[in-house]
């Protein structure tokens, strides 16, 4: 059964096609990865799926709810860990967690316990009453992950989750998610530009480049399709191993990409 259904999804910024008519499905309980180079359209896609960016055209259905027309309902069924910071610096670590718990309808009886469990899990329990603005970049990242894991949605979106994360927390996070997947059937949708990560974590991978899905399938299928013996080689074959020629059009597209990337962050 498909828990995420994306059809003909397109996003244009001016003349620049960030996401170009992509369609795919994610099955319930699956670990699904969007693998692509920087600026391929991964974050734009995840923003549209999480209802904070309106697509130019196409449809997105998450857990039976139209993420475009009925976004309030769709938001009930997912959680997301962002690529860049989304904490409130002026609040303490504990407040950030607790507020998140309230916003995500976690009953107060289990909220306190879960905040403690997760803050201990990322080793920030001792710093719970410190304002987040006093935290280092790594600590903020860990808090962000802990907060993202507080509620148990049907679908987890993780946008470049391991960016800036130490190996210990990364291991913790994946085992936590695998456990949730086993016990509650949670679906995990992640974007990454680390090939090893996609290879280790994902059951199915979509290789995305320049706003288009170049190939989709299990790691094994991608290898067979491209006649290669590793995902890395398959990836390079699909996205091109040569350094791209910088034609005038490319340059303009890259500038658009840079411009919109910085504008949105």
């Amino acid at each position: 059964m498909a828990i995420i259904e994306v059809k003909n999804l397109t996003k244009k910024f001016g003349d620049f096609l960030a996401v170009d008519n992509i369609s795919f499905q994610v099955r319930q309980g699956e670990f699904f990865a969007f693998l692509g180079p920087n600026g391929a359209g991964k974050s734009t896609t995840i923003k549209m799926m999480t209802t904070i960016l309106k697509p130019t055209s196409g449809s997105i259905v998450i857990s039976g709810h139209d993420a475009i027309g009925d976004s309030d309902r769709a938001r009930q069924s997912f959680g997301i860990v962002f690529q860049d910071q989304s904490l409130d610096d002026e609040l303490t670590a504990w407040e950030n967690m607790d507020f998140h718990g309230v916003l995500y309808d976690i009953p107060s009886v289990i909220r306190g316990g879960r905040v403690k469990q997760l803050l201990e899990f990322v080793e920030l329990w001792d710093r719970r009453d410190d304002l987040v603005k006093k935290f280092s970049g790594g600590m903020k990242r860990r808090l962000e992950i802990a907060r993202g894991l507080m509620h148990h949605p049907k679908v987890f979106f993780l946008d470049e989750p391991t960016l800036g994360l130490d190996a210990q927390t990364r291991q913790h996070m994946w085992s936590y998610l695998k456990n949730l997947n086993r016990t509650e059937g949670t679906t995990v949708f992640l974007t990454t530009h680390y090939i090893e990560e996609a290879e280790q974590i994902a059951q199915r991978v979509a290789v995305i480049d320049r706003g288009k899905i170049a190939a989709i399938g299990t790691v094994e299928e991608l290898r067979q399709e491209t006649g290669t013996d590793s995902l890395e080689k398959a990836f390079l074959k699909l996205t091109g191993s040569h350094i791209r020629e910088e034609s005038a059009g490319d340059f303009a597209a890259r500038r658009m990409r840079l411009f919109h990337g910085s504008k949105k962050n």
């Binding site: 997301i80 910071q85 904490l87 409130d88 609040l91 407040e95 507020f99 309230v102 916003l103």
Partner: protein
């Protein structure tokens, strides 16, 4: 649903209380106005036969601190956007309307409390309200004014991506709203052009109602003041809700 609105409201209050420079800074300006203008212009005002200028000025300065604080609180949405917290709220399982209400009520409460402090401050430097009972309806007017401009701030902030438009808002929106409202000078006998502008400035009605309740002299009259404030507040909150619902990251 109410718990979520409450938590967003609480966040605004905590953030305000924790930024001490902001609290102190926002009291310094009204104090300066009260002392420099109140005492400085007092003699001229008296000679013109208009009575005590500090009594006239104090409601205007309360209005000033409310409009500044309320619009800034609304505009904090731009900060939330830049520092990322807006995303956290926008993907949470709640409607845009709930977020907007929580944020606006939080900003309005902060501005209202700021107004109360300035009221006390002005009493401390010599402002004498005509009666103590009148202070309670005056508090209601203060909250309504705060709500109006907090909603207005959210509406403006929803259309801006960064702080670059901030100076523009300050100089072409907040300052004119304040200076053209009759907060500093009596509207009686003012040029027609100025009167026409003051008539479409919602702060005029807030200041007039406060001045009427606290000192007994109205220009528009309380019923018109309340009607104008309520109408403008509904409009501002509606516009804020609509524009906020269109926000994209």
């Amino acid at each position: 649903m109410f718990e979520k609105i409450y938590i967003l409201w609480l966040r605004q209050l905590k953030r305000y209380w924790r930024s001490k420079p902001r609290v102190i800074g926002s009291l310094g300006q009204p104090l300066l106005f009260l002392l420099a203008l109140g005492y400085g212009m007092g003699a001229v005002f008296q000679q013109a036969g208009k009575g005590d200028y500090l009594d006239f000025l104090a409601p205007g300065i309360i209005g000033m601190s409310i409009i500044f604080t309320a619009i800034f609180s609304g505009i904090e949405i731009i900060w939330d956007r830049q520092f990322g917290f807006l995303k956290e709220v926008l993907v949470a399982p709640m409607s845009r309307l709930e977020i907007m209400i929580g944020h606006t009520l939080g900003g309005a409460t902060v501005a209202f409390l700021q107004g109360v402090v300035v009221l006390l401050l002005s009493i401390a430097v010599g402002f004498g309200p005509i009666g103590w009972i009148e202070i309670f309806p005056a508090l209601g007017i203060m909250f309504l004014t705060a709500l109006l401009f907090a909603g207005f701030g959210v509406a403006v902030a929803s259309r801006l991506n960064d702080m670059q438009g901030f100076q523009l808002i300050m100089n072409f929106l907040i300052m004119p709203l304040f200076f053209l409202s009759g907060a500093l000078f009596p509207l009686e006998g003012a040029p027609k052009m100025l009167l026409a502008i003051a008539a479409i400035d919602p702060l005029s009605y807030g200041v007039d109602a406060l001045r009427g309740l606290l000192t007994g002299s109205y220009y528009y009259g309380l019923p018109l003041d309340i009607a104008a404030l309520a109408g403008a507040a509904s409009l501002a909150v509606a516009a804020g809700s609509y524009l906020f619902s269109k926000i994209q990251i």
